[in-house]
Symmetry: C2
Subunit: 341 residues, 2 copies
């Protein structure tokens, strides 16, 4: 057994995926997943999902052990939660209501089946909490030297046009829903305190330092994207929207370039009653909030709050108090440090 | 650079995914992929795909370096072809016409961008050859220690009910479309002759032995599923159908159990004019033909040919000349030998 699993399963975890066989593993996983209400669920070569308005939105995202998570820092259930939550967030960012997920998972042969069961529990907990009624309609199990999860999610636009990144207009209000910077603050603490003397991710150090129970670390492990605010924004007339996966600044830059506008952050605006628009909030990724623009006369729906305004295209994508804000964030290829943890 | 790439890229392949950065890599890949005709293509958090009859079918399948392919035996373009073809086959097996693919890909940082470009070329070649008009509507790029591809495919049922595994009726004709056993024969030759003296997969040995130009090896690398025969079977009234991914016998067993019938193979029936129903044809996987049942009065469409008949549920799932045929095949968890090649 890979020692990095033991913190979560104990040393006597029972069957592994290699000893149990594909059918037994599948049977044990599927019963823990949320079934949703597909027209046809698992068991045939495809599932069949309703698309009431004759279209569906679709997104896919892969999470890989190493660059995307470490067993020393995240439990299998945390990984299941995050894999579901991040894809649901991309569906919401189009203004759509999630209608289904398919999950492909590849695990080393020595992975305890209990790890996959916990992963499935995390998927179920996320879907139940964030998008009740949605479900996992299909999947695939493989073996790999590297634990890998690939989720594809679908959604229904309810007859509305999809909300694109390219629709922001000068004069629109720039607004955000969801927390900013907490996931990055949690990750920073893990990198600082959740490591052994050689700097490798360590479950023991994470527990001993108190990081294990830090609410920011919990957000890093289990982001809470405001899924319902996506379709609510679309219904309210949002002109542009995207999911804040890589950080407010870099994602705002994407929206600005796609819409050929400049986004002007309110010079002294806080993010909410308690949090300033600090560097972590601007450049920290993985919060999976929603950034959207609304016509100026719209009452902001749900958890959206104003953080700025859309202005004519200038030299910079994003400005604050007249000064450019670097639209930098997380690049999985350039930033990965290769730590295995 | 991983030495196993060099056979395909040469020693001076230029940029790697680590040095080029995500955006540059994406740009170079996307232009090589077939665009298809989504309502909204890549560039936002989701794509939007038409579902004309208010439903869509969906399937997902992951291919992992090691258990599913080896660079010593398959080129990056071969892997792209196979990843697309196997998913298109699952869509066809429901009686649906493929309408789109999304592809998540994770590669080691030292992977030459040229490898991903060739992968994209293979995807395009497969889609163009097997399901013209279909396209890649979205994707995701990640880093991983293990080269991993996850494809999700969609399809349109054209107003027909999906063809399930469970619909076979006593008296139906059992028929197959596509070749049987060739992919397994090719793989067997690679395992026998495409290895170095230590038994590790070897590009040099594959070339030196002549296996590299063996038409059966070509089928192992680039299966040619009869995609159009899927919707043709549905239109002709097929009562049950599935994709032959793991072998005729094991997949026939799945259909028999789902339909609660026994499948009786014609005792002396050949597979086609030139091939007997030998062990490879019965138990070799990865051909991705279609197995279907039709009412006895139906003229078999497309490339379908009769191989048996559906009889009352007996002691065995599959019989031939009154004797049970073992419904065994490929189990990715139980059968993987862990060779890295």
């Amino acid at each position: 057994m890979d020692a990095t699993y033991e913190a979560w399963t104990g040393p006597t975890a029972g069957d592994t995926v290699g000893t149990a066989g594909e059918l037994a593993v599948l049977d044990r996983i599927v019963r823990r997943l949320p079934a949703g209400t597909p027209l046809l669920g698992p068991g045939d070569d495809c599932a069949v999902v309703a698309a009431p308005d004759g279209r569906f939105v679709v997104t896919t995202d892969m999470m890989v052990h190493g660059p995307d998570f470490r067993w020393a820092w995240s439990s299998p259930a945390d990984v299941g939660w995050k894999a579901a939550a991040t894809n649901l967030s991309d569906v919401a960012a189009m203004g759509a209501v999630p209608t289904g997920l398919v999950i492909a998972l590849a695990a080393p042969q020595d992975t305890p089946v209990a790890v996959l069961e916990s992963f499935a529990d995390g998927v179920r907990e996320a879907v139940t909490a964030l998008s009740p009624g949605c479900g996992v309609v299909g999947g695939d199990l493989s073996t790999s030297a590297t634990f890998t999860v690939s989720v594809t999610a679908f959604g229904d636009l309810g007859g509305r046009p999809p909300v694109l990144r390219s629709g922001a207009r000068v004069g629109d209000v720039l607004a955000v829903s969801g927390e900013l910077g907490r996931a990055a603050r949690g990750l920073a603490r893990l990198f600082r305190e959740g490591v052994d003397p050689q700097g490798e991710p360590s479950r023991a150090a994470t527990v001993a330092s108190g990081a294990d129970t830090d609410p920011d670390v919990a957000r890093q492990r289990r982001p809470v994207p405001p899924i319902a605010d996506g379709p609510a924004a679309a219904a309210a007339g949002a002109t542009a929207m995207l999911d804040l996966s890589d950080g407010l600044a870099i994602d705002a830059g994407r929206l600005a370039r796609a819409s050929r506008v400049t986004l002007a952050l309110d010079a002294d605006g806080p993010l909410d009653a308690t949090r300033p628009l600090d560097d972590l909030a601007l450049h920290g990724g993985e919060d999976h909030g929603l950034l959207a623009t609304f016509p100026p006369d719209v009452a902001l729906p749900g958890g959206f709050r104003r953080i700025g305004v859309v202005v004519d295209r200038g030299a910079a994508d994003l400005v604050r108090g007249g000064a450019p804000v670097p639209t930098t964030g997380w690049d999985p290829y350039a930033d990965w440090d290769g730590a295995a943890g």
